[in-house]
């Protein structure tokens, strides 16, 4: 790996980092606007045309708010919590293939930060670490509501991770690889995995809702019972980090879903258009982002439609429905694969 490679990768990392931050920022705006449209309202419309500067105003407000660290809290962990949450949210994007290769002169630019051969495992590891941010923050606050929210977050994530992992195993049986790059490349044209694994995708998306703490599974921050959940005691930019991490998580899990099940950067007829490979790559990146934006919209659509699950219903759904279903899916996939061999 030469110096050029390192510099190019650094630039790519910074670009992807900035893109995820901007998308997270505008997800907050999109959430408010979409919520408004679902409820026949206008949404933020004062800051700039159509309220387009609202996230900037919100961010400035977050920075300027008074920073409060509760007197009886564990100060170090209180700061570690949100830092960990935002950090794990950001590093998940490293293994996602954003597109094919770009040919610039003689240099071939790969639109992926790193292609490790256990990409899916890496994402699972990072997502599981994200729970620590919530848990540490909730525990360090020294507040009953925060602690309850953190406990809920931990148990919810642990139970849904199992079903999520099992649904992925069925996918891995058909693809035969853990590398996200290869999985994306296999889904050429119309061969999207969702066609072969509809049940697996359904389980995966339900678990993704639980993993990102989005409604209808937003029990950790359930306002009606737990004030603010794990971030009750947080203020200023630390609270901002928690909220931001949620939106980055949403973006990353949308990207993962698009890559695993909806063909990633592939789009139909991509090689029969007669365009040069660079243009196909650029269109592929646009296609991937279109899919990601659809999933982000889907997350919000579900949030403003379905009421929150009760805690026992959540556990019931996770352990007694999704895990058996995921195992059945594995068995079914195995039988079908053996028969078709």
């Amino acid at each position: 790996m030469g110096t050029t490679d390192i510099i190019v990768k650094l630039i790519l990392i910074v670009v992807i980092f900035l893109i995820s931050l901007v998308i997270a920022m505008y997800s907050t705006y999109a959430e408010r606007k979409i919520a408004a449209f679902f409820q026949d309202r206008l949404g933020p419309s004062r800051a700039g045309p159509f309220g387009i500067l609202q996230p900037v105003a919100d961010g400035t407000k977050m920075f300027l708010k008074e920073e409060i660290i509760p007197a009886n809290s564990s100060k170090f962990l209180f700061i570690v919590g949100p830092s960990l949450a935002i950090m794990t949210a950001c590093i998940g994007s490293a293994v996602i293939p954003w597109g094919q290769t770009l040919q610039i002169g003689t240099y071939v630019l790969d639109l992926q930060v790193t292609d490790i051969n256990v990409g899916i495992l890496y994402i699972f590891g990072v997502v599981s670490l994200g729970v620590y941010g919530v848990m540490i923050g909730g525990w360090a606050s020294n507040n009953k509501y925060s602690l309850l929210g953190a406990i809920r977050a931990a148990s919810q994530n642990i139970s849904y991770e199992i079903a999520m992992g099992l649904s992925i195993i069925a996918l891995l049986m058909t693809t035969g690889t853990l590398s996200l790059k290869e999985i994306a490349a296999q889904q050429h044209g119309w061969h999207w995995n969702v066609v072969y694994q509809p049940l697996g995708f359904l389980i995966f998306i339900i678990c993704a809702f639980a993993e990102t703490n989005r409604s209808p599974f937003d029990l950790p921050e359930c306002e009606t019972e737990l004030v603010g959940g794990y971030h009750t005691e947080y203020s200023s930019m630390k609270l901002g980090f928690y909220l931001f991490a949620e939106y980055i998580n949403m973006f990353i899990s949308s990207a993962v879903m698009a890559t695993l099940y909806f063909g990633g950067y592939n789009f139909p007829f991509m090689h029969s258009l007669g365009l040069s490979s660079n243009w196909v790559t650029i269109l592929g990146v646009i296609a991937l982002f279109a899919k990601i934006f659809f999933f982000i919209f889907f997350f919000m659509w579900v949030r403003w439609t379905i009421p929150r699950f009760r805690y026992d219903q959540l556990m019931d759904l996770g352990w007694k429905t999704l895990i058996p279903l995921a195992i059945a899916n594995i068995v079914l996939t195995g039988i079908v694969m053996t028969l078709l061999k």
Binding site: I34, A36, F37, F38, Q39, D40, R41, L42, S45, W301, V302, W304, T305, I306
Partner: protein, 166 residues
């Protein structure tokens, strides 16, 4: 016992069937409903300062002290409005008209200071009912917001109607 309206309906609590227990059909249906709102229903919001909802004809808003057909103030500072006010929002100080001020005040006595505390006012309209001179009417707009309590005490500068065009 006979129900009052005879509209009582006995509902049976049926156990949920498989599709109802599976959540998903109901969720898809619900999402269809919200999508209909997202795509087709127009927002009902009225963006207030730029757009205003139409008031009804007997809407009671900010007070105005009226002038007569010659542009003279009608108020004679009799104090009936202050007396009738259930919120005790009105205070006034009366003064006697000097010679040469006949074009300003209609009668010999007038209100030198006339103040309404808009934070106390309940916009009941009893002052306009009490007024024998048809001098006060609640025919204005909504009282605008402000930052300080003292700025809600409206004096004659804000209450008296604009003078007639000469």
């Amino acid at each position: 016992m006979e129900a009052l309206s005879n509209k009582r309906k006995v509902l049976e609590a049926k156990p949920l069937n498989f599709w109802e227990r599976a959540y998903l059909p109901a969720i898809v249906k619900g999402m269809g409903i919200t999508l209909k709102h997202f795509l087709f229903t127009k927002a009902v919001t009225i963006s207030y300062p730029e757009q205003k909802r139409e008031f009804s004809e007997n809407f009671r808003g900010m007070h105005s002290l009226k002038r007569d057909e010659h542009g003279r103030e009608r108020c004679t500072a009799c104090g009936l409005c202050a007396l009738s006010c259930p919120a005790e929002a009105i205070t006034m100080i009366s003064a006697e008209r000097k010679p040469g001020e006949e074009n300003l005040y209609r009668e010999e006595k007038y209100a030198a200071v006339y103040e309404i505390n808009m934070l106390r006012c309940i916009f009941c309209g009893l002052c306009e009912e009490a007024c024998p001179k048809e001098a006060i009417y609640l025919d204005g707009d909504i009282v605008p917001s402000d930052y300080l309590r003292k700025d809600f005490i409206y004096g004659k500068d804000k209450l008296v109607e604009a003078p007639l065009n000469q």
